[in-house]
Symmetry: C2
Subunit: 397 residues, 2 copies
DNA sequence: GCACAATAATTACACAGTGTAAATATAATG
DNA sequence: CATTATATTTACACTGTGTAATTATTGTGC
């Protein structure tokens, strides 16, 4: 937490406390108070409230030192949230608790060109299966989140030619009152990596998070802003070479045409679908010849060129890259810095720009969406997403 | 105002009311209440307070309709603020009131390669002159603002190789306690154009503001964020042509190398300094041959290419361009759209992207900085920028 | 095993800032 | 000049916070 100022509504204060707990995964009160910039008195009040609503739990722990705190506060794991992810090769459903447990998963293969009607059919079927599962257990989902590559609240996405109004309408009907958040996959990814295990994340402060996979997506992780305000962007469709390789978007010379998993798979001679099946470590399995390695480095250089340009437009001092480049050796990755050096104003300087890599989490979908759902629940202060004034009117109109 | 939520500190509430007044240039109470999302009761209280402090004034006006409002609320014009602008060809000082009046101006020619020591000398001299002026009139500046091209709080600027710590230190000393805000020129420009005359501005909602002059700078105007949180960026140093024209930054193929005033001046055969002297309408004065026109269009196309890429990274649906391209004919400007069409994901579509032009305001410096100073005064709720807790300590340490 | 030390956690109370609603003011209209 | 319609102020209640006093908890040393 940070960037907030004292007077807040109860909902916001609850959200601040819950958010702190979600990020830390459990903490003692003095820590919560510091993190949320509240007094212990306020924390005490809020926690009493949250405990009575069974949103948080307190585990008795021996004090770690004389007079130390005695109860470890954690989020209840009995609040079920649902995460749904659509990627270019599958649709996955999951149910879990706020603590990060995953209790139910279903995954369906889909084609990258999935039509909206097909999707709706698939979704309805899976949802029915999921309902059966929750039904027998008497579980009521408190918050759902759906992540889509390239999703944007404000912009239509030419790469994902679905009717977004129809989509929200459909989902709203399908989920029957369960609060739903739709977000861009790269936001969910970034939030999951950044906050689900704070200690393991290589960056702090505002930075760029990039995911290089089927596409090349980026997001500005603004530490003081709420996650749903992060700005996602399509780095993959930055034109880095006028008149260059043809891209699926119709343009020529897009970064994606050079550095997407698909573009790479033609170089290494493995189909993209196979790469996805092999998961995280596919590059280790390959015996890359000198030639192939060289070509991959060229592509990494171009990625760097794009990243440098992105940094000219989003000036931050740290970049975290996830995706296939994270699987390459340091020597290979040096090509990225070289590319940045050619485009970033002032050149690449390890003193001023921290470049980190984290393993792409292929195969653990829909963990990110699940995390995002937990985040949304928590952001609303754990209060049922009461219909906004307008929405109330809307229901009758 | 917008994007805020109900409970606020007094300072914030004052800021909201004052900001509303600064933007509207004066309003009746019911309007203020709507704009700030406060009740009339709260507005009444705040205004009573501000009136007693002589920050706002109420002009008796006949009610415009039965039972209509009777007093027009405006910001006092007796609150002196100072604006200082550094551009590539001059340093200008100004003093004015919150209402937009300019009471004092001094402008000094400087070279684009001004060294920091020279600057300090010039600044001290001008400040002394200004002090004499305020001294004889018994005027005490309440807020000062200084705008610099390429300034960034977080990043050193390789184009502007000054020591920023030394700069703030120097300015702090020089201004002796007058609260000072330093900002990027493009932010001051954008804020000035956007809010000093709301009705005349061609865009609403979040958008990109670009200034094409000595450099090519951009800023994301986020309507819900405070102005000082706008994100400025150096569009000019996006590499749009690998191995292209050499740029002053040391790279090749930067947008600036093709579209800056300097790049253009070599095409039209007029020195940049002359262009600046001729002011806003320099292009009208030239008899552009077919050839020159064609070359300018090529440059506008490249500008469009860069803008499209910028939009891929900052997805907004409106762009406002100020600078020499604003002086070109519609037919010429079409080249910009053509460029955008080649890089923006999904192509250029007038339905989805609004492209507007506003006349560059050459020669009325330091109006923008002056406006920014007024904005800073207002943002602090018209309260003396009390030293923050840390700063207080700092003074004794 | 017990008093003590040291910090945690709760609670009573005061204060800031808001909205609601009642009271009062203002000016055009007939 | 009363009426009308809306603006403006004021009294009061309510929310949420911080301060400071109070109570709880547990390791340490005797």
């Amino acid at each position: 937490m940070s960037g907030r100022i004292a007077p807040r509504s109860r909902k916001e204060t609850r959200a601040a406390v819950l958010e702190s707990l979600l990020r830390s995964g459990g903490a003692f009160r003095p820590l919560i108070a510091r993190d949320t910039q509240l007094t212990e008195a306020s924390v005490s009040r809020i926690l009493a409230e949250l405990r009575s609503e069974e949103i948080v739990e307190e585990l008795r722990r021996p004090a770690p030192y004389v007079g130390g705190p005695t109860a470890l506060v954690t989020l209840s794991n009995d609040i079920p949230v649902a995460g749904i992810e659509l990627s270019n090769n599958r649709l996955s459903f999951g149910i879990g608790g706020l603590g990060g447990t995953v209790d139910y998963v279903e995954r369906l293969p889909v084609s990258p060109q999935l039509r909206q009607e097909e999707f709706e059919q698939l979704f309805s079927d899976s949802l029915a299966t999921m309902r059966r599962w929750t039904g027998t257990r008497g579980i009521a989902i408190r918050q759902a989140a759906f992540s889509i590559p390239g999703y944007s609240r404000t912009h239509a996405n030419p790469i994902f030619p679905w009717d977004m109004e129809r989509l929200s309408g459909f989902l709203g009907d399908a989920l029957e009152g369960v609060p739903l958040a739709i977000t861009n996959s790269v936001i969910a990814q970034a939030a999951f990596h950044r906050y689900s295990n704070v200690a393991a994340y290589p960056a702090e402060g505002d930075h760029l998070f990039l995911f290089v996979g089927h596409g090349v997506a980026g997001v500005v992780v603004n530490e003081t802003a709420p996650i749903d305000a992060f700005s996602p962007f399509e780095l993959g469709h930055m034109v880095i070479e006028r008149g260059g390789l043809a891209c699926r978007c119709g343009h020529k010379g897009c970064l994606e045409a050079y550095t997407s998993l698909r573009a790479i798979s033609t170089i290494v001679g493995v189909a993209e679908s196979e790469v996805l099946q092999q998961g995280d470590r596919f590059i280790d399995l390959l015996d890359l010849g000198r030639d192939i390695r060289e070509r991959l480095r060229e592509r990494l250089f171009l990625l760097g060129l794009g990243v440098g340009n992105a940094l000219n437009l989003h000036p931050v001092s740290s970049v975290v890259i996830s995706g296939w480049p994270s699987l390459m050796s340091d020597a290979d990755r040096a090509a990225i810095s070289a590319g940045i050096d050619e485009s970033l104003l002032g050149g690449f300087d390890a003193e001023r720009l921290k470049l980190s890599f984290i393993a792409p989490s292929i195969g653990n979908d829909p963990q990110a969406a699940l995390y995002y759902a937990a985040h949304c629940f928590v952001r609303a202060g754990g209060l049922e997403a009461k219909a906004e004034p307008q929405a109330v009117l809307g229901e009758n109109a």
